[in-house]
Symmetry: C2
Subunit: 364 residues, 2 copies
């Protein structure tokens, strides 16, 4: 019998860390307390009580908040608004593959700046800017970056804001994982540090409630949000009111805080299991343990062929994403530990190590 | 005290014809029976069991069906796919204002063909085609057209399909109101008559379940649906799984059929009240009573200034949409009776007639 496939590929939670019962209760409560709001057309800005909750959370006004059908839809609206063909856009290297695809589709001129263990190499960005790069936008995942797992230091956040003001570009702070810190100190968002209307912030309830609910949001300058709202109206009239009413109830009732706590406990355990298994089984792997989020980035020795490893691992029933998909090197890979239990992690990393040793032997 | 505003403007149901209790039950049942399907990322094609239900309903395969966040999002995807700048697109005159806006945004070359009481003037279309028009797409609302209320006859459906085959264009059959026939005989969809893969069909659960649920869908040739699915993946990964799981349960449980019956009874009553009030209060209005759907189209005598009427009516607390917004004449208007009760209709049409008489006196 084929062994069950163990997947480290998808940045998605396993069902056991989805708050099913609290979601059922939130639906009942939302449908009972505001059937008109949940079941009618809304406005393109999103469900009012949810916008208000998000605004409070970020010390913003409702008019600075727009809730969408998942945060990728928010990204798409913002990119359509801010990125014309040929515009220069700063991204992190490596970065989220779908961001790269979206920007390539818009025919942006992409400049990729390396990510260090404390986030974007801001010195390298400063040099690029000095040398004449004129970005309209910089896309930054500040916390537990996808795929590198790195978190942007406070000092770098401040310097990035200064650069944005000096060189006149917008920072797109893409932060779906920020709530999932399981150790160390939380850092302020660039949105909260911004005094020059330089930041548009995005987040999502996919990682704190569940992905199937498809609720994401933007917080930013009122004029930007109003322009995005116009685009949203023309695209779908209003986002999903049923889902947003459920999320609003979920947030207000305290279920969100409970869910975040439970998710963090599980993710920490999964991260620890992944790190321990790598150290035990695959000593060639070098990595920095992330302080939160879903992802662990692995460097193998120079010359390691991750493309071949991917095939060999798949034959043994284990899946991951190659680093090259994110603009990373040929010897890198991303492990998502969000959807696998510690037992599966042990088994999966064992198989991965076996696949790696098989390749090394063949290459020797 | 200002009188409460009565609105005939919005094509939306009043809350009393939304099946609130059945929606609550559907959410409970869906979340209990398939939490994994409802709460996880899905595929961009939509929630599997819902796609299957839609496929059955239209005697199609799952791969011919794609469920989206409302049918406008489906329209947007299809237009992006099929309409390049400068492409010729056939629309009805008058037609849904948001369709016009979307096509103008894409810089399509729009040819508007008049709608008659039995739907699009197919003879006029044939002449335009003979004279060299080369559309890639024809957008048709076949049943209880928005805004004209007209239904395309069976003979015209057949002739339109012949023209599409002969002149090589796609028919976009946009049918959100088809289930809401309250008298006369249902006609087959062009999708079901199509043997040449000429039709892409769109509909929605906004009018049969509720608008806030934002679930629409496309049915069409597999290659077209696959191309739209690729675009949907890049835009939002997957549509709202929570909402689609609720709708799937709602459809399978029999709640959908109950809802449609209840909605039809209410809409018929509202249409009758609107027609009776117009005959009684505003004998200058000429109109064809629709056999279903949400809308009644009113022609006033040539020279009547509906723009001025709109302002005068608003002052009296009654709102409608001017026909010019839909590409109609200066003397036309659209009344949506879906969101108003018979009492409100009597009061509202009374105020409208009063506004009209005021203008006529001023003009005389």
């Amino acid at each position: 019998m084929e062994p069950t496939t163990i997947t480290f590929a998808r940045g998605a939670p396993s069902l056991d860390i989805v708050p099913v019962e609290d979601l059922r209760a939130a639906a009942q409560s939302a449908f009972e307390s505001d059937p008109k709001g949940a079941f009618s057309y809304g406005t393109a800005g999103g469900y009012g009580p949810l916008r208000d909750w998000i605004a409070e959370r970020h010390e913003a006004d409702r008019e600075q908040v727009l809730a969408t059908n998942g945060s990728m839809q928010a990204d798409a609206f913002l990119f359509q608004l801010k990125v014309q063909r040929g515009d220069t856009v700063i991204v992190e290297a490596p970065t989220y593959d779908r961001t790269l695809l979206a920007l390539r589709e818009l025919e942006a001129d992409i400049i990729a700046i390396p990510v260090e263990p404390d986030g974007l190499d801001v010195d390298a960005l400063a040099i690029a800017l000095e040398q004449g790069a004129q970005p309209t936008l910089a896309h930054i995942i500040p916390n537990f970056q996808n795929p590198a797992g790195a978190t942007l230091s406070l000092d770098k956040r401040r310097r990035l804001l200064e650069l944005a003001t000096h060189y006149d570009f917008t920072i797109f702070e893409d932060d779906p994982y920020g709530e999932l810190r399981f150790e160390g100190e939380s850092l302020p968002t660039m949105l909260s540090l911004d005094t020059e209307n330089r930041v548009v912030y995005a987040s999502s309830f996919s990682k704190t409630v569940c992905p199937g609910i498809r609720v994401g949001y933007l917080v930013g300058p009122k004029a930007t949000i109003a322009a995005v709202e116009q685009r949203a109206t023309a695209t779908y009239i209003s986002p999903n009111m049923v889902a947003q009413a459920i999320v609003a109830d979920f947030c207000r009732s305290g279920a969100l805080d409970r869910s975040i706590e439970a998710v963090k406990v599980a993710l920490r355990e999964r991260r620890d299991a992944t790190c321990a298994a790598l150290e035990r089984e695959l000593p060639d792997a070098s990595f920095t343990p992330p302080e939160g989020g879903y992802f662990l980035w692995v460097d193998l020795p120079d010359g390691a062929d991750v493309d071949a490893l991917s095939g060999a691992a798949r034959e043994r029933g284990v899946i991951f994403v190659k680093g090259t998909d994110f603009g990373g090197g040929l010897n890198t890979l991303r492990l998502a530990y969000s959807g696998v239990t510690p037992d599966e992690i042990d088994e999966g990393i064992g198989r991965l190590a076996e696949a790696y040793r098989g390749l090394s032997v063949a290459a020797a």
